[in-house]
Every structure is written in structure tokens, then in C-alpha cells.
């Protein structure tokens, strides 16, 4: 993935946070996006990390969710049992970020194994907080690089439910949140169809065409009638992002 497309993902994710108050953040692109939102349009956005840091205001991009800078700048630091039971589970948090190794057309996610569960070709890290972020946050944003290997017609394992088998499944499962409202990739943005919940290509990043996105998708991707082109990063966004990334030591920037 080029630096430009990685930047585009982060910028689009950051914009999607506008108007929201609280955000459950993981490390990497989500953390960068959330901090970019704080540095641009949403200075009061409350960042919540699963390590128990509520209202963290890191001055440098954290390298782990347990980074000391998160605890030092947080409004409150609570235990891990508390962050899941009292803060995530009841549906208090507006936006949650997700990523995975595989996604399907209903935005279900696999971060567990490639291949059979009992004899995986690749053992992935596993669930972490994703399944409950996906069910409890009022909505989620998925950040993933797009390729036929990651955007698949059938998941090897369903770690995290997006829309399950389609419309109505989240309600049937008793989930409180609305589910993945955007899948932001290095090529464009996919959103769930309001009726079927199947992902539809709605935005292309500058310079990307529909054919390229369809070629990077392992199922017959639906395309919106009026696909828009994502606005490129503004000067202000780019400047803020550069400042943020400068806070991460160079030697670790590729981690």
C-alpha cells in the first residue's frame, strides 16, 4: 500500500468521526485517525482505549494500547474488567474501530485463522476486543486494505459479526449498535445497503476506478449509482497528520 493510500484511509476515518463524542480506539490507523480528528475538527472527542484509559489525550501516537502516555493524559484510568463491563458493554460508546484479516460482503470479520481452525495455515492473533466493540458500539468503522485475499466471499472463521447473514440478523442477535457504517479501504469506501445490509461501493479515493476496486474484492461487489470521489486530504489535514506522525520515533514507524 502506498503512503498516499494509507494516508487517505486515516483521513477518511478521521472525517467519519465528526459530530461524534466518544470513540473506542485500537492501535495503528484507528488511533492515528482518532488523534487526527482531535487535531482538526473534533478537539473534544473522547478517546477510549481498552487498556482502561478514558479520555486519553496522547501528545505522541501510542505504540501500544497500554502506552504510558495514554494513562498519563487520560481523564480516568479504570481496570480492564471495568472498561468492558461498565463502559463498552452497555453501549455508551458511539464509534468503534475494527480491522481484520478477512471481511465478507456483510462486513463480518475474521481475525482468528486462515485455513481450518484445527490446522490453520496462518494462526492470526484472535478476537481481542473486536466482537464486543462490534456488537456494543453504536456504530463501527472498519479499516482494511482491500485485496481479493482479504475481501472474501466466505470467511475462514467468523470472529466478529458485522451484519451476519444480512438484514435483521443484528436485531435477532440482540446487538445494541447499528453495526459497521463504513468500510474504509485504501481504494475507497464501502457502506451497507439500507435494505439488504450488503456492502456497496460508495466512494472512490482520488485516482482509483471502480474496476480496480472490483478486482480487489473477492465477491461481485455492488456499486452505488452515484459513486463519489473522496475529497483528497486538505492542507490542514495533511499538516496535522505530519505533525502527529512526527511524534512516533522513526525506527518504529514501520511497526
Amino acid at each position: 500500500m502506498s503512503g498516499a493510500s494509507a494516508e487517505m484511509m486515516v483521513v477518511v476515518a478521521s472525517r467519519a468521526l465528526q459530530g461524534h463524542r466518544t470513540c473506542f480506539v485500537g492501535i495503528g490507523a484507528p488511533s492515528t485517525a482518532a488523534n487526527l480528528a482531535r487535531a482538526t475538527h473534533s478537539p473534544d472527542l473522547v478517546l477510549i482505549y481498552e487498556s482502561g484509559c478514558i479520555g486519553a489525550k496522547p501528545t505522541r501516537l501510542p505504540l501500544s494500547i497500554g502506552d504510558g502516555g495514554l494513562a498519563e493524559t487520560a481523564d480516568a484510568v479504570v481496570s480492564v474488567p471495568e472498561i468492558f463491563a461498565y463502559w463498552l458493554q452497555p453501549g455508551r460508546i458511539e464509534v468503534g474501530f475494527l480491522g481484520a484479516a478477512q471481511i465478507d460482503r456483510f462486513a463480518n470479520l475474521n481475525s482468528t485463522v486462515i485455513g481450518p481452525y484445527d490446522a490453520p495455515t496462518t494462526r492470526l492473533p484472535g478476537a481481542g476486543g473486536a466482537p464486543e466493540i462490534a456488537s456494543a458500539c453504536r456504530q463501527t468503522l472498519v479499516l482494511m486494505r482491500q485485496s481479493p485475499r482479504s475481501f472474501v466471499s466466505d470467511l475462514d472463521f467468523c470472529t466478529t459479526v458485522g451484519f451476519g447473514g444480512g438484514a435483521g440478523d443484528r436485531a435477532r442477535l440482540g446487538f445494541r449498535g447499528a453495526g459497521p457504517m463504513m468500510v474504509i479501504t485504501d481504494l475507497g469506501v464501502l457502506e451497507p445497503d439500507p435494505d439488504s445490509c450488503e456492502l456497496v461501493l460508495t466512494h472512490l479515493h482520488p485516482g482509483v476506478d471502480v474496476g480496480a476496486v472490483k478486482a480487489a474484492t473477492g465477491w461481485d461487489l455492488k456499486v452505488a449509482d452515484d459513486v463519489e470521489v473522496t475529497a483528497p486530504p486538505s492542507a490542514a489535514e495533511r499538516q496535522a497528520l505530519t505533525r502527529l506522525e512526527a511524534t512516533t520515533p522513526k525506527s518504529q514507524a514501520h511497526g
Binding site: 466482537p131 442477535l173 518504529q252
Partner: protein, 286 residues
Amino acid sequence: MLVQLEQTPRRWPRMSGGQVVELADAIEDLVHDGDAVALEGFTHLIPFAAAHEIIRQRRRHLTLARLTPDLIYDQLVGMSCADRLVFSWGGNPGIGSLHRIRDAVERAWPQPLVLEEHTHAGLTARYVAGASGLPFGVLRAYDGTDLAQRTSVAPVICPFTGEQLAAVPALNPDVGIVHAQQADREGNVQMWGITGVQKETILASARSLVTVEEVVDRLEPRPGGVIVPWWVITAVALAPGGSHPSYSAGYSERDNSFYQSWDEISRDRDTFSEWMRIHVLEAATT
């Protein structure tokens, strides 16, 4: 007294109360082959010194429980200490894979590793139930995922609303090990910063060991400080720097570049074994 109270079989025996002992002695006394052991610490305060002592004492057939196996369990698994891993997210944070754990799962090297995996919330609920003396914990989780078929979770129905929720079995390790900033001479412990599930680990475990950066005359309560009293801790051992390459807020910084270099060290079996020989097996005990 008319009734002589027998020592009823208790799930929380306390061999001693917060005795300050040598780390090697504590591991020898508390950790036995075949034990279920939880070495906790959520990114912060990971008890590496205790894990290295377990490796040096060549414990075998352990069941290892931990939310995030991290490098600490990559090392224990790669050094043949464990048969079984209970976890919820097994990666090198921000870097990539835990190569030793993957090698064990994918290619049974140095031996097979049975996995029991949860979500963070699910495994946390297991610790909380264990600390609370309950046989199970309840949460909203697992519904609709393939995890439900692959782990210890069962449906439980709310007797008031009829709603179905997930029950997970209590986790009560034989030994819980955590690292903290300070102990006093009575064996009371204080930790601060991100404190994860460390208190629950101590309280859920039959035996517990806390390694500390420093033993002080008197604990001075700190903002965000969690104090665990001596009488629920089996032993305390001094292990300054014992959380490296993790960190102990107020004492050390996370060694991010070590986490990064671990990717290379651990990718190859020989490089890993050589590194462990030099830096753990033949290293002087702290």
C-alpha cells in the same frame, strides 16, 4: 469450642501472607509442572522476570492464561514450558505475529499447543468470576460468531426478561503472577497506571506471587493506585526492572525497540533458542 473447625478444603489457601522472598525460591515453591498459571499485566507491568525464572527452572506442561500472550508467553511456549494456552489476543502489539506461538500451533514446534481462546471481555469475565467466588460470569458476547463453537461458553437465560446471554466459566489459576511498582515490608502491594486484570488475577488464583520494582517502608497511596493487602498474596519478590521490555510506570519506559527486534529474534527457531540461552538461561538471576 464444641465444634472443632477442620481446615475445610478451601479454594483459596494462603500458604503465607505476603512474605517477601527471593524470586527463585518463590517460583520453586509456587509453580509446579502441570499448573495452570496466569502471568498478567495489560501491556504495562508484564512480569517478565518471573517468566524467565520459570523458564530457567524448566517447568513443563503448564496451562498458561493471559489476555494478551505478548512476548512473555511467546518465550514460555518457545521454551517448551506450556501445553495449553488460554488467551484472547495473541500478537506482538503494533508489530505483527508472535512467531513462537504460531510455530507451536501451526507446526507443533517445539511441541503442540492446545488453544482455548476468548474475547477480551469473555476472558476478563472469567477472571472476575474467579475472583468473586462464582462458578461463572455473564456477559453479552460470542453470539453469532464461530468462537462460540470453539471455546468454553454456554448460553444462560435471564430469569426476569428471558433474554439469552453468554456464560463463561470462572478462571481460578493455580498460580497468579503479576508485577507491581511497590511492596511494603508486610507484603502489601501498590500498583498504578494501567492495572489491567492484575487484582483479579491475584484474587482468583489459589497461590499468588507479586514481583515488585521496590520494597518500601510504607506505601504512600498514589492517584490511580491499586493496593492489594498482604493477606491475599502468597509471596512477594523483589525484581527491579522485572517488567522489561514492558514497563513499570514511574520506574521504566516501554522498550518499544525491543518489541520490534523480537520480530526478528523470534522468527527463526535457532535465533530464538540462542537468544534465550544467552539472555535467560545463562543470565544471572535478578
